[in-house]
């Protein structure tokens, strides 16, 4: 029953996104432009870039994620859709997990789409055996961003200072996961062993997913 509700919410969100493509277009354009702008901030072909390439990539992903995640609950405010969703027999946790999965799928698609641009623009040496570990890191890191982002999207949906809350709360909450994702990605691109970061990412995902599922009802309903 729970899974069916989750599926319904996720399908609904993905459907409406596929029809308008608003978040998709915005975040794709944003991530490509950011990658372009970074290339003026420093010399993209130097060897030094390889040392912080993981950071560049995840900065881009985080900013693009904020665009997608912020809208997650905000777009339900129009026509009182959010009230209808809360009043429906779907539990808050199913609503949250469904929305988080839809955001996760969307973000991962944006990331996979913009990854070749990154490899191309920054002259990153890429081999086929890096695809699978990279996908794993992207999935773990993106889930961490998604859980925090979706929960805070629900929390800030009706606030007057919504824009202020993103840098003050959402980014700091994401930082531990981001640091782990960045170090793992940099290690991966440099051909080094992945290190502790993967374990940290898994732990972060488990802890914050459980907390978010437990507290989303408090946030939405009270």
């Amino acid at each position: 029953m729970f899974l069916r509700q989750v599926w319904t919410i996720m399908a609904k969100d993905l459907h409406s996104e596929l029809r308008t493509k608003e978040a998709w277009n915005a975040s794709i354009a944003f991530s490509v432009v950011i990658l372009l702008l970074f290339s003026w901030a420093f010399d993209p072909s130097s060897d030094q870039v390889r040392e912080f390439s993981g950071g560049l990539l995840w900065m881009t992903y985080t900013f693009a994620a904020a665009l997608v995640l912020n809208r997650s609950f905000a777009r339900e405010v129009q026509n009182d859709c959010l009230d209808a969703l809360i009043a429906s027999p779907v539990s808050s946790s199913a609503l949250f997990v469904g929305k988080a999965l839809a955001n996760f799928a969307l973000l991962l698609a944006v990331e996979i789409f913009s990854l070749p641009f990154f490899v191309l623009f920054y002259n990153v040496p890429w081999t086929a055996d890096r695809c699978l570990p990279m996908l794993l890191v992207m999935a773990l890191g993106t889930w961490a961003l998604t859980v925090i982002g979706t929960l805070f999207s629900a929390l800030t949906v009706n606030l007057k200072l919504r824009e202020l809350m993103v840098p003050m709360l959402v980014y700091p909450m994401m930082i531990p996961a981001l640091i782990a994702a960045i170090t793992v990605t940099t290690n991966l691109l440099a051909g080094n062993p992945l290190g502790l970061g993967v374990r940290l990412l898994v732990a972060f995902d488990i802890i914050f997913t459980s907390l978010a599922v437990v507290f989303v009802d408090t946030v939405l309903v009270g």
Binding site: L155, L164, L169, P172, M173, I207, L211, T218
Partner: protein
């Protein structure tokens, strides 16, 4: 009664702090490697202990609010978190001064420093969030969730000097298996902790009074609007 407790605590904390300052600056010798600057530890460590335990206490009080829905828990959680943020700021500032002398830089991006700064930002965000929500019950609910999520980071920061090989010194206090200080040098840390804990209790009590007055004013305003 509240005023008497506050005055009593202030007199006790002030006397203890004065006596302690005398021990720290006149009684104790300079440290062998660091010289005089090591004395900053007598403020750095107690301030950070108060900051960290305060964030933890704020989390427990927030859970208390979510379970009972009693707004007094929320007011206390907000007061404790606000005072803890002040002590966390003192901890960050004193640490930075010490780092300038010993490491040669004001700041280093190691796990301890970064995670503690992240905590500081999150609980700063907690206070901002409280200002952004007008309805008291909604404010209490949201703040409680942020406090609980933020405490996970506070715990990571607490454990970071054991989990990672940080530039920040490893545990030196005897209760954390450090035992890196002579007994005579460690004792003033605990006395200072007691004195600062008394001060923080005073601040929390004053802050609580403000919260209850603010709630009273809010209720009166609502009543006036309703008529």
């Amino acid at each position: 009664m509240r005023e008497k407790i506050i005055i009593g605590l202030a007199v006790f904390a002030g006397a203890l702090l004065a006596w302690n300052m005398n021990t720290i600056f006149n009684g104790l010798p300079d440290e062998l490697n660091q010289g005089a600057i090591y004395r900053i530890i007598y403020f750095h460590v107690p301030a950070n202990i108060l900051g960290m335990t305060g964030f933890g206490l704020g989390m427990i009080l927030s859970i208390g609010y979510l379970v009972t829905k009693d707004l007094r828990y929320d007011a206390l959680a907000a007061s404790v978190t606000e005072v803890s943020l002040v002590f966390a700021s003192i901890g960050l500032a004193t640490g930075s001064i010490w780092a300038r002398i010993i490491w040669g830089v004001w700041w280093a991006w190691d796990v301890r420093l970064t995670s503690w700064l992240v905590c500081w930002l999150i609980f700063g965000g907690y206070l901002m969030l409280r200002r952004a929500v007008d309805e008291p019950n909604q404010r209490a609910r949201f703040a409680a969730v942020v406090s609980i999520l933020g405490s996970v980071n506070a715990y990571i920061s607490y454990k970071s000097i054991e989990w990672w090989n940080t530039q920040h010194p490893q545990p030196v206090l005897s209760i954390r298996n450090g035992g890196g200080m002579a007994a005579g040098m460690e004792a003033p840390i605990w006395w200072n902790l007691l004195a600062l804990a008394c001060f923080s209790t005073i601040l929390v009590m004053v802050r609580m009074r403000q919260e209850s007055v603010a709630r009273e004013i809010d209720t009166l305003r609502r009543m006036a609007h309703a008529q």
